[in-house]
């Protein structure tokens, strides 16, 4: 691990891929002229290039072109004049952004939600995975897995709707309370309950799905370690503390670092859908701010500036998170070969 982390400069083409076949590693010399000529390589690889073309084309048009489109953040963009005809205003949009209290409200909400996710969501899949892994009967385990994975595949509209039907003012819980003679309870519209509600929704939707990666890590732990520990007199809790958790450590550290790099992306649709019910005071996050600012003011440049700022900070966070992962001897998003 340490050796790998201390090794050579990052090699982007190794990123997110398993180590290539050995042959390829030694075959690198082809690039320095000893191998086939450019023409021979074109003849050999042209069908590969053709295959890559549709995906690269789609990414170029719908990812790279709009990325450069962010230059309107430095303009007073007007759709009729286009990028070429709109006046340049330097950092004016950013200055306006920094003096907008609603922007800082969105930043604050985003950070609070991210922190709450980290503390109250992150550990749930780990605990659930350990619990599921302890179920010995295969069939029971598979059924439980199917059940807890399911909500991951539901849309946010569906999840929010289900929560509303159960916990909303006209929902099942209120219905039962009314039936028992109590006042109905509408926590789906109470700003004080916002963090509780959105975190519960996240846990309900994705905690089960989050167990997959931990279940795989648990399956990779050498069972002999448990046996040796048991023979040495370690009870189940000590085995969990000294074998299971250390076995999960690399995955936990990796996911934690990735989460920190992704802290500004707390989600969009979940907050967009509930903004009216809870009010923008608690539920406005950076992405919904971008949308509503642009919608309300018709000022595309202001929205682009907020989005660009978020993207730039997010990029720095991801790079820092990866650096941290490498320093700690973990793989990170891209690996060093």
């Amino acid at each position: 691990m340490t050796e790998r982390a201390a090794a050579t400069a990052p090699s982007p083409d190794r990123a997110l891929a398993p180590p290539p076949r050995r042959r390829d590693r030694s075959g690198r010399g082809r690039r320095s002229g000893r191998g086939p000529s450019l023409r021979a390589r074109w003849l050999r690889d042209r069908s590969l290039l053709l295959m890559t073309l549709p995906a690269i084309g789609l990414l170029a048009v719908f990812h790279y072109v709009p990325t450069f489109g962010n230059i309107i953040a430095f303009q007073q963009y007007n759709p009729w004049d286009g990028v070429a005809g709109s006046p340049w205003v330097g950092l004016y949009q950013f200055e306006r952004l920094f003096t907008d209290p609603r922007f800082w409200n969105a930043v604050g909400n985003t950070l609070v939600i991210a922190a709450v996710q980290l503390v109250f969501f992150f550990p749930v899949p780990i605990a659930l995975a350990i619990l599921l892994d302890s179920v010995l009967a295969r069939r029971v385990r598979l059924v439980l897995q199917s059940i807890v994975y399911m909500p991951h595949f539901f849309s946010w509209v569906l999840v929010v709707t289900l929560f509303q039907q159960i916990l909303g003012g006209a929902g099942l819980v209120s219905q039962a309370l009314r039936g028992a003679g109590y006042a109905p309870l509408d926590i789906m519209a109470s700003p004080d309950a916002f963090l509780l509600v959105v975190t519960s929704q996240m846990v309900w939707k994705d905690a089960g799905w989050g167990t997959i990666i931990f279940l795989a890590a648990l399956a990779a732990i050498d069972q002999n370690l448990y046996e040796s520990a048991a023979v040495d007199g370690a009870n189940r809790w000590r085995r969990m503390w000294h074998i299971t958790l250390p076995g999960l450590r690399p995955v936990i550290v990796l996911l934690l670092i990735l989460k920190l790099g992704d802290i500004l992306n707390v989600g969009f649709e979940q907050f967009y859908l509930q903004r009216d019910a809870f009010g923008s005071g608690v539920s406005e996050v950076m992405d919904t701010y971008v949308y509503h600012q642009t919608l309300v003011t018709g000022n595309f440049s202001a929205g682009a500036a907020a989005g660009l700022l978020k993207g730039a900070v997010g990029l720095v966070l991801i790079l820092v998170a990866n650096k941290t992962a490498h320093l700690m001897g973990e793989h990170g998003v891209y690996r060093r070969s």
Binding site: P12, A17, M51, T52, Y149, S155, G303
Partner: protein, 303 residues
């Protein structure tokens, strides 16, 4: 390992009765928290007006069965059209996405091929930043794609993560088979279609499922790009008539066929929309579940 049945190893102590009871209770509670809301929604959608009235809302205890709500929905009104739109976008989108992804994953699976490094780098770079909502909206608008279904498909057609997962899988396949086919004169297209894809059914199914679920569930792109609500997919109908509670039983929202006839209670119709939105994903994903670990882990853990 986690898919194999295990017996308790001899060295492991048998858990005490209270411990086992506690564990089973927690597991049952977890399952119930997921399943109960779905049960209540499905039951209400299948309940006749009398049961909904008696329950004063959502139905927990069965009180008769009625398919009236579904008959209303599928009688040719707004919901019927939205379901067709969602099915069409999901089918077309998954086809486009899966084709582009499989081709590129294979095209980029051979280090040392022409332009391999810069192209792969261009794909991986998309992980690091998103283009931003506003410039993307302006681009889609400039391309004249507002109010077209292409706007729901093309901007999100290629997911770099899925591409990288497939590429990693292809690179892990034994290279000797492709090599010998190449010696026998097979071109890359033949190798991909005849050799590589048949060996990659699992990962293709998982990536296809991820794309299909993404299209079926897509919500916000339709808000952004579709002004014409006659073109709305199901998720927007779900939001408007269920989450926001707009009345559905009025005017032209239900097909002409049932107007003037007895219709199902509004709540049952609303819950039927919820069921229609959740049923396809619920039916499909267990079929590919056994491949999840492979697909997800190749991409995520092995890096």
């Amino acid at each position: 390992m986690s898919t194999l049945s295990r017996s308790r190893p001899v060295w492991a102590e048998r858990p005490s009765l209270p411990a086992r009871a506690a564990k089973n209770t927690v597991l049952a509670a977890v399952a119930a928290v997921v399943l109960l809301p779905i049960y209540v929604v499905v039951l209400t959608s299948l309940s006749p007006a009398s049961a909904v009235t008696a329950a004063g809302g959502l139905v927990v205890v069965p009180g008769g069965i009625s398919f009236q709500a579904y008959a209303d929905l599928f009688s040719g009104g707004v919901v019927t059209r939205a379901v067709l739109v969602s099915l069409g976008v999901t089918a077309a989108g998954t086809l486009v996405s899966l084709t582009a992804t499989v081709l590129a994953a294979y095209g980029l699976s051979r280090p040392g091929s022409l332009l391999h490094r810069p192209l792969l780098f261009a794909v991986l770079l998309t992980f690091l930043f998103a283009p931003g909502m506003i410039p993307l909206y302006l681009l889609v608008s400039d391309l004249g794609m507002i109010d077209s279904y292409a706007a729901l498909i093309l901007p999100t057609a290629v997911n770099a993560f899925n591409l990288v997962v497939m590429r990693a899988f292809f690179m892990n396949l034994p290279g000797e088979i492709a090599d010998s086919a190449r010696i026998d004169g097979a071109g890359e297209w033949t190798i991909l279609l005849r050799l590589v894809l048949p060996m990659s059914k699992g990962v293709t199914a998982v990536v296809g499922l991820f794309y299909a679920v993404g299209y079926w569930n897509a919500f916000f792109n339709a808000i952004l790009y579709l002004n014409d609500n006659a073109r709305w997919p199901l998720q927007l109908i779900l939001r408007q008539y269920v989450q926001q509670g707009q009345q559905l039983n009025s005017g032209s929202l239900i097909g002409d066929a049932v107007q003037g006839t007895a219709s199902a209670p509004n709540l049952a119709v609303q819950m039927a929309i919820v069921v229609v939105a959740l049923v396809p994903v619920t039916l499909i994903y267990p079929l590919v579940q056994k491949h999840f670990t492979k697909g997800v882990i190749i991409g995520a853990v092995k890096g």
